[in-house]
Symmetry: C2
Subunit: 202 residues, 2 copies
DNA sequence: ACTACAGTGGACCGCACAGTCCATTACCAC
DNA sequence: GTGGTAATGGACTGTGCGGTCCACTGTAGT
């Protein structure tokens, strides 16, 4: 388990991570056990510890990384091409759709609360995700500036940060209440606000 | 434990809840044990089960309620008197200060993830908290309308929802990254956006 | 084909921790 | 002060679950 992984080994490892992710989403991190994961992935306990020598925590971390990667993947290609207002609207729709479908499961959130505090690993994964997400938003705003749809004077980073916060908040409220009203309101008002900034003085 | 609680009994119960809240904040819900709570509150195990017959879950729920109540209390009296722009700014400062002080501990969040799914109790607490919070924000916006600082046409609920989402998102990012940049940006832009709505055409 | 190591199976261990039980003490009512 | 119920102490139990061990099997390289 230090680099020497055959093709078969890699496949098994992947199978475990993906299966574990499913189990965690269904059962929740708190109540999911290694045995659950063994059953789901048809793996033996030795396999689990073979591929994740540090045990459950290492496995959870791997799942967290897996889930984090999925988040931005799901928003492609919209997120990386926010160069028109239509693109922003489409992206908005995708985000809302994705999180409405996800409902009250928050793989990353629960993972974070479980492993999070104390271990730097989980935090690093989330921080990196947020950074990349915000960077994409900022790039989108800048491309609107480049095409003259938004004035140059805009504080791009603050706007991107606020938008990211709007999403996170909307999602976390969706998570606890089951309703996507807040996510919609926050995104709509956030984008509208941005748009208004472009309409003042052509 | 069905109503019949002496003054002494009530005091003990309170002591347990408050002590448990401390322990949960420090150790995190995941790793806090009943023994930790026993030590902290100088209570015996029988006391714990005397006051919370359903065991750990009931205790966690009581703590969740306790923490939820604190959230809005901490923002008083500003939150309930949002009738001038100065009041909004002051409230903003209080919120930021409170959550910066809290740092990376999220009592309610972790409680929610631990008990949350599966039990309706925790969800109800959070839903109610959100409802009251948003209601306060909406009342603030309406009072600004009443004094003519904001136009009547405003979609008050959507504005309040967006603001609430902004806070939640800012806080959850503060929680994972340790930086309050997003909370500040989201609140500032949210309030600025609101304010701008009042400046268009007197 | 042999050899070395990755991959796999599954029995086994230990203990942390929620929850139970009963005995004892403090408190209130009358 | 006496009966009844609340409050408390603390030993005890049971087990769920993470983690270990060793033995067996498949497979790639020479």
């Amino acid at each position: 388990m230090r680099g020497q992984l055959t093709a078969k080994g890699k496949a098994t490892r992947r199978r475990i991570v993906e299966g574990a992710a499913e189990v965690l989403r269904e059962r929740g991190v708190a109540s999911a056990t290694l045995d659950d994961i063994m059953v789901r992935t048809s793996a033996s306990k030795s396999q689990l510890f073979h591929y994740f020598p540090d045990g459950k925590e290492e496995l959870l971390l791997a799942v967290a990384q897996f889930e984090a990667d999925r988040v931005l993947e799901d928003q492609q290609p919209y997120l990386s091409r926010l160069d028109s207002w239509e693109a922003w609207e489409q992206w908005r729709d995708v985000v809302i759709k994705r999180y409405e479908a996800q409902g009250d499961e928050c793989p990353l959130g629960s993972l974070f609360f479980q492993v999070g505090r104390s271990t730097p690993g989980a935090r690093a994964i989330v921080v990196e995700l947020m950074r990349r997400w915000q960077e994409n938003l900022a790039a989108g705003i800048r491309s609107l500036q480049a095409s003259g749809r938004l004035p140059d004077g805009l504080d791009v980073d603050a706007r991107a940060a606020a938008l990211l916060a709007a999403i996170q908040g909307g999602v976390s409220i969706l998570l606890s209440t089951g309703r996507s009203t807040h996510l919609r309101a926050a995104l709509d008002l956030g984008i509208a606000d941005l748009r208004r900034a472009g309409e003042t003085g052509p």
